[in-house]
Every structure is written in C-alpha cells, then in structure tokens.
C-alpha cells in the first residue's frame, strides 16, 4: 500500500509539471505588458528594463519557463505586481481560508449526500424520496453564486441570522460552506441513491436478510460500504468542482481566500498571483485525488488486492 502511494506521488510530478507549463503558457501569451501598466508611459527605457529584470519578465519563453519552474522548486512563485509581495507569502495567507472553506463544504456535502441518498434509496418512492430528489435536482442546476446571493439576502440582510462579512466566529462560515457544498451535496446524494438502489437489490443483501439481520444493520453493515465504491469517485470529482466553486463563493462572502485573491488579481492583471493561485489549487486537487484513490482501496478489498500484487492494471 505504501509502495502504491509512493508510486502515485511520483506520478504526480509529471502532471504537476504539465499544469505548471500550461498555466505559465497561458499567462505568457496574455496580451498587455505589465511593465506599461505599472510604470505608465512616462517611464524611461532604463527604468522599464530594470523592472522587467526585477519581475523576471526578461528573456524568451523557454528561458522564462525554466526560470519559473526552477524558482518554484525553491518556493518562489514570483512577485505580485500589485502589492510587490512574494506570491508565495500571499498564498500562505489565503490558502488556509480556502482550505477551511473547502473542507467544511466537502464535509457538509458528503454527510448530507450520503444520508439523504441512502434514505432516499431505502425508502424509494416515499415522500422523503420525492422531496429530496426534487431538492437535489434544484441543487444540481442552481449556480452557487446565485445561491450565495439568495442566502446572503435572506439570512444576512433580511433575517439577520448570520453576519454578512468578517470571519471571526464559526457562524461566519456556515453560509459560505453551505453554498460551496450544496451543488456537490446534491450530486453525491443522487449518486448515492442510484448506487444504493443497485446494491440493495443485490443477492448478498437478500442473504443478509435471510440470516435474520435487521434492516438498519443491513443498510449500514452490508449495503453502505458497497454502495460507497462508485460514490467515492464522485466525491473525488466533486471536490474539484467544489474548489472551483469556492472561487465564486469567496468573492460573494468576501472570504479572504485564494479564489478571491485570484479574481481580484485578474481584474488588476496581476498575473503572477493568478498563476500561483491556479497552481496551488491544482496541486491541492491532485493530492485530494490521491487520497480518494487510497480511500477507494480501503473500501474495496478487490482493489486493495490489486495494489498488493503490484500496481493497478489499466
């Protein structure tokens, strides 16, 4: 198992390198010269050249790419045009907030999704099933930014149950976490429901019933683990959407996270920050996918056996 994790960590390197190249290239071809934007037209040629050197903007594409990757290995992601701070420092400030938001969101969506999906499947065609299937349909189609605004309007401005800004107490996190997780919660619930419906018709569930096992124990002990196998993949994929969604949600609830920082930076054409933000989130996402894969093996003994016998066959 450890060997497998090690192998997967090694496989991350080319992917992350690829992500870096793609993001770097996109930012490289972005029109507009940041030096012009920073110094204005009046600046002398020397001043321009100096700034160019200082920001690492001199040289050709490959020279700059290799320099960027080289610096990246030292934890140097360049300097923000706008604040002149190192991007890495800004990421250290903002990333914990995004991480917290994502973690809260994913916890909510997994808990909600699994419970609702399981009950809907076990009580198929009940009122509960219909109501939550409807809610999940809406949740799937609703944009997180509109949901965020609706919640903000209802609970912060009208009912005043939650504070509209600031992040000093846990209460501040409730609405953002809900908003970020709702879409995923709906998808996980849908997936859990259909997976569970399949599993509870399986023969081994009848076997368990024939042993005299209680329904609740059958669902928890026999069905859930099997139903989880496809759901875990969904959770992994949802996590990407969830982190992506945090970009929107952070700017609605003014969460000082990576997403808000990136959106602000795009408007001010502060590309090193955008680049650093995309990379940080992509790195994070890759690690999460790795964790999901390991979790997968933990749930399904058949996959674990494959790992033991030397790597996964594709």
């Amino acid at each position: 198992m450890l060997k497998y994790i090690g192998k997967r960590l090694l496989m991350l390197i080319p992917v992350l390198l690829g992500v870096t190249v793609i993001v770097f290239t996109l930012m490289y071809i972005t029109p507009g010269d940041p030096v012009d934007a920073l110094l204005g037209d009046a600046a002398t040629v020397e001043a321009r050249e100096m700034l160019r050197e200082q920001l690492g903007l001199n040289g050709g594409y490959f020279e700059r790419l290799f320099r960027y990757i080289g610096n990246l290995l030292h934890g140097d992601m360049g300097i923000s045009y706008a604040t002149k701070q190192p991007v890495f420092t800004r990421l250290l400030e903002t990333f914990p907030n995004t991480f917290k938001l994502a973690l809260l969101g994913v916890t909510f969506s997994v808990v909600f999704g699994l419970i609702v999906g399981t009950i809907s499947a076990v009580k198929q065609y009940s009122i509960f099933d219909y109501v939550f299937t409807f809610i999940c349909m809406i949740g799937n189609a609703m944009s997180s930014f509109w949901l965020g605004l609706l919640l903000l309007l209802t609970f912060c401005l009208k009912l005043k149950w939650f504070p509209a800004s600031g992040f000093s107490s846990p209460r501040h996190w409730v609405l953002p976490a809900f908003t970020v997780g709702f879409h995923s919660a709906a998808n996980i619930a849908r997936m859990t429901r259909s997976s569970m419906l399949e599993v509870i018709r399986a023969d081994y569930i009848t076997t368990a019933r024939a042993k005299g096992q209680k329904e609740l124990a059958i669902v928890i002990r026999h069905a859930l683990k099997n139903a989880l196998i496809p759901v875990v993949t969904t959770i992994g994929m949802q996590f990407g959407a969830l982190i992506g969604g945090s970009v929107l949600v952070e700017s609605i609830f003014v969460v000082p996270g990576v997403g808000k920082m990136m959106v602000d930076s795009i408007k001010s054409r502060d590309y090193p920050v955008v680049q650093g933000g995309v990379l940080a989130i992509a790195f994070f996402f890759c690690i999460v996918n790795l964790i999901v894969d390991v979790l997968y093996a933990y749930i399904d003994p058949r996959i674990k056996a494959q790992y033991k016998s030397g790597g996964r066959q594709q």
């Binding site: 080319p14 992500v19 793609i22 944009s143 605004l149 609605i252 955008v274 995309v278 996402f285």
Partner: protein, 299 residues
Amino acid sequence: MTQNNAAASAPVQETYKKRGQGKEIWRRFRRSKSAMLGLFILLTLIFMAVFAGVLTPYDPTEPDVPIRLMKPFVDSAHILGTDELGRDIFTRLCFGARISLAVGLIAVSISLIGGITLGSLAGYYGGTLDNVIMRFIDILMAIPSILLNISIVAAMGQGLQNVMIAIGISSMPGYCRIMRASILSLKDQEFIEASRAAGASDFHIIVHHIIPNCLAPLIVQATLRVGGSILACASLSFIGVGIVPPTPEWGAMLSTGRDFLRDAPHLTTIPGITIMLAVLCMNFIGDGLRDALDPKLKN
C-alpha cells in the same frame, strides 16, 4: 411501407430502420414527464432567443434612467421590471437567451469535436500517441474547470468567442475519455475486423462503425454539458471575466444586480431563476435521453 416497393434497395431499408429506431426512442423519451417538461422549457427559451427583437419594443442595452429599478409584475409594459439603468429585464433575458444557447451549443460542439478526435486517436492507435494524449487530458483534469476557464479567458481576452473556446476546451476531457473507452471496447470486435478486412480505411471505420456505436453516451454527456456550459459562462461573467457589460448575459446581469441586492432583489433573482431553469431543462432532457437511448441503464 407503401412507397418504394420497386426500389427497395439497401439504403432505403436502412433509413426505414433508422426511422423506426428514432420513433422508439421518442416513444420512450415521451414517457418521462420531466424530460417533456425539460423539452418544453428548452423550446420556450429557443422561442425567446429567436424572437428576442420582436417580443418587446425595447432595446436590451439602451439605458432609460428615469424608469430604473422598476419592480416586476407592476407595470404590464415592463412585466419583469427594469434594471439599474432602466432597461427592460424581460428584453434582456430574451437577448441573453441567445447568448446562453449559443454558448451552450458552440462550446459543446467544440469540446465534442475536440474530445472525439483526441479520444479516437488515443483509443484507436494506442501506444505513444495514446500516452501523450491521455497525459495531456490528465493535466487538463487536474485543473478545476472554472480555473482553467479563467486562465484561458485571461490569456485570450474577454468576449463571447473566447468564452466559448475556453469552456469548450475545459470540458473536452469527458468526451475524450468516453470516446477512448468505447473505442477500446469496440476495436477488437468482429464487425470492425470484418470492415478492416474489406479494406476500409481507419477514418472510415471510426466514422462509420465506431462513432455510431458510442453515440448514446456521447449524446447524453453532450446534452448534460449544454447546461454545464451555460452555467460556466454565467459564472465567468459573474466574476467579471466573461462577457462584458452592457451585453445582456444572464451571469453578468446577476453580477451587476449584486449591488442592488437589498433594494431590488429581482435584479438577481430573475436571471438566477432563468439560469437555473436553463440548466435544469438540459439535465431533464439529458436524463430522459439516457433512459430512452439505453433502457437497461434505467433504475
């Protein structure tokens, strides 16, 4: 059945069979109430988009400040009210439908063409090519799609065309994977072998034998992605990197409405509901199609 008795050649029989299949799919599709509701909403949106200039006398971008922030359902002249510059919201919704439907359609076409091409090449030729393509797809998938969209739009500049391309590229991996998996499972089947033995070219085999056989999952994925693309476009406009005002794009409308959240919530609610309905209808149609195309999958 009555026609073409004399010329009952193979092609005629084929179209006849295809029509029968289409009819059967339509019959199954029609059984799903939600799919029919989705179709109805979609047709309404198409109607709004096509007749955007005829349905109301107003201009979608011309400000009319004296009547700004009119509440909905008060004045029959402005049934959904007016926005912060006094523009008729219903008019803007109709013109917005043009943009959203175009984005949905074109972004999905881009990703469909790109995904099918890459997936076919990877699955059919295998080896190094497969490896290179799939690693590229892995890299694309490692970046959450909205971030990829933001990066691409930032690189190429804002505007409708670039938004479509960005969304098209970022949703390519899904099709690519479906296509590759289908090809891998079809490649060695006998009818492909037979076709190859008969001297068919690779291109002919892919277009005439493989694509028709994995059409069902592709169609379903594409339908569902239309909704996703509409949502992605709205998201980009919402954070201000997508389609620029004053173009009446739903996400952009929602975004400008934020500043009037307390006093004129309809500025956000109306486009919000519209986006939701658009996505919902495509989801309904997609689910209905999935059940209609492959009854085995139905729960």
